[in-house]
Symmetry: C3
């Protein structure tokens, strides 16, 4: 898969990836982007949101600790991204946990500016209008066929849909991928989902013309770095140390050797 050259591209171009995100994992998202080789910028003031987006190569939105003000800034930034034709990734963090989260997702998605919707099984199922019970920001079991959920939502909204979990599902542009990289430990660290969305932002920044491919490559790279970090870690604390180190040192050879991306016929 020629997507491996994306890692080199990120490190050469060091694209600016603008985030409007939550206050819990904001540092971890910035450091993950920087460790990978791109350049993070976090700026949420409505007065500068559009201007910062206009000098960026991708925009990552995350509603983890949303407020009305923040949603307003997200809409401003997303509009600027659409005008500049740079990709916008929306992490629907905690969708299903409150009416405000659901309505904010609807506002953001119905703006037409979102290119990639990303969440775990229960979050994306909720966005798809399926009947799920969400437990805060952690994923809960759903009984749906996740490939179908991703494909149908992708068609309905004309955007790329990413469902993360033990197996990741990516659907968009008539394509469907699964990614099986990652490790069990990642589920015990706060913010691995948020950082995965940031990784998609980095890869989308250098491959804006193929967002399903960029998303699959991003989740695979993230998962491989996670596998390497987990092998050296005895818990969430040491994992966070190692993942930031591994993101810097992961190579295209690592990706060629270890990536578990499957393209499914649909």
């Amino acid at each position: 898969m020629q997507n491996n050259s994306l890692l080199n591209e990120i490190r050469t171009k060091q694209p600016l990836v603008h985030h409007i995100t939550n206050w819990v994992t904001i540092f971890n998202c910035a450091q993950a982007v920087k460790s990978l080789g791109a350049s993070p910028v976090m700026a949420h003031a409505p007065e500068e949101a559009a201007e910062i987006t206009s000098i960026s190569s991708a925009l990552v939105l995350n509603i983890g600790t949303l407020t009305e003000d923040i949603i307003g800034s997200m809409l401003i930034a997303a509009k600027a991204a659409a005008e500049k034709k740079i990709p916008v990734v929306l992490d629907v963090c905690g969708a299903g946990a409150s009416a405000m989260r659901n309505q904010s997702c609807i506002r953001l998605i119905s703006s037409g500016f979102i290119n990639v919707i990303k969440g775990n099984a229960s979050e994306v199922s909720c966005i798809a209008g399926l009947d799920v019970t969400t437990k805060g920001v952690d994923s809960t079991d759903v009984s749906f066929d996740l490939a179908d959920v991703a494909l149908n939502l992708s068609k309905k909204l004309s955007c790329t849909v990413v469902i993360t979990g033990k197996r990741d599902y990516i659907a968009g542009d008539g394509k469907l991928f699964t990614v099986d990289n990652g490790s069990e430990l990642m589920g015990r660290v706060v913010g691995t989902g948020c950082m995965a969305a940031s990784m998609i932002g980095c890869f989308a920044a250098v491959l804006p013309g193929d967002l399903p491919g960029a998303s699959a490559a991003a989740l695979s790279a993230w998962g491989i770095a996670g596998e390497k970090a987990s092998a050296k870690s005895s818990g969430a604390g040491s994992f966070l140390v190692h993942i930031f180190d591994e993101l810097s040192s992961i190579t295209e050879e690592d990706m060629t050797k270890s990536q578990k991306i499957t393209s499914l016929t649909i």
Copy 2:
């Protein structure tokens, strides 16, 4: 002490612990909760505060970087917690450092929705109306008998009062405990007090009927994890790595073997 089964209970039930907290240690609080085995959710928008609390099993409030908006959301969430009869822990972080902090504590406590008040010696003494000088968010020496301070305040406010320090004091429901677990290094890490309050939230979530007991067990577990982490650490940086690992691996046997909880006659 049968409270040891609480750890198993937390890991089995994975209770959702809602936080409205400060922007400095918000990640560390979330990760500490997740490492222990519970499920953290941080949500401060007034529009969703009540709804998120209503799906949670405990609420932890921390005024470390309070603003008027945040206090408003705390009151909304605390009311929802009272209606659902789930425990509310208030960390009076930095009480005494400004009139706004003191007045906000009074507003929160006089709402009648707070079940556990937690702070260091100078903070709780300040809440008790005693004459102390506070130095920001770090504890300063006080000359009071802390057992008396905790007991009297507990009786006056009809809630559990927790004073953390080298020796922790917990008073409530006519009970008085001291906890002597912990290590000197913990005082050099930003947010150990905030994380201790989060631990109380986790234990209170599974033992809402005995908040002094839950608080003592929480501080003991936190202290034991801290002792184990400190033994492997050479400073604040490595401590934070190890504490997140140790919180995941601490067992009921560790607690039985190492806990230093004393029940005092009053």
Copy 3:
């Protein structure tokens, strides 16, 4: 250089260093200050900003994730600092990236309350009115003579100017220093610039009468701790662990032995 005794002074007096800073690196700034031996307090509510400053020994402002509200609180705190005659450090984080950032810097600086302006080459050049293109919050190459930029801006604004980079430049009170401590790895960690400003706050708190000297000593101490941390690290994750440990253990002997401060004739 007798500035080495500053480290002892910080650890003995444990000065309170008030920050109004960004949401990305707020924990790291607090922990860096605490690890060094001073006492951090982060408080941004306009109702308490002045009161917290009035019990502090230095004020550190950082516009990394500025909003109108935050700038307002900064002005309140800076005024209180001026009245109490404690030093105010302004990190012009991301200056040049948006009109709002530039205008906010002008508002803050023209208040007359700022004593130390600190940024990387592109940020400070932007403040100096020079023609630069900024890429978010990361420094971009500039072709100016940085010693001249620092000196001229320092004279124009009658304050100390600090330009950080591989070589740091400090100008003020008719003095000019360069500092060559630090390591390449520090450029790959989010927030090293912010933490450097916090270090200046700590040293300025105990040497308010010589801010260029305090700034040079701070950047040298920070750089030496960074060199020691880098030697033990394999990336940004492990660096952050080690820097917090090293800041606690760095001694005056380390500083005497390793500091690379040059006083230039001007």
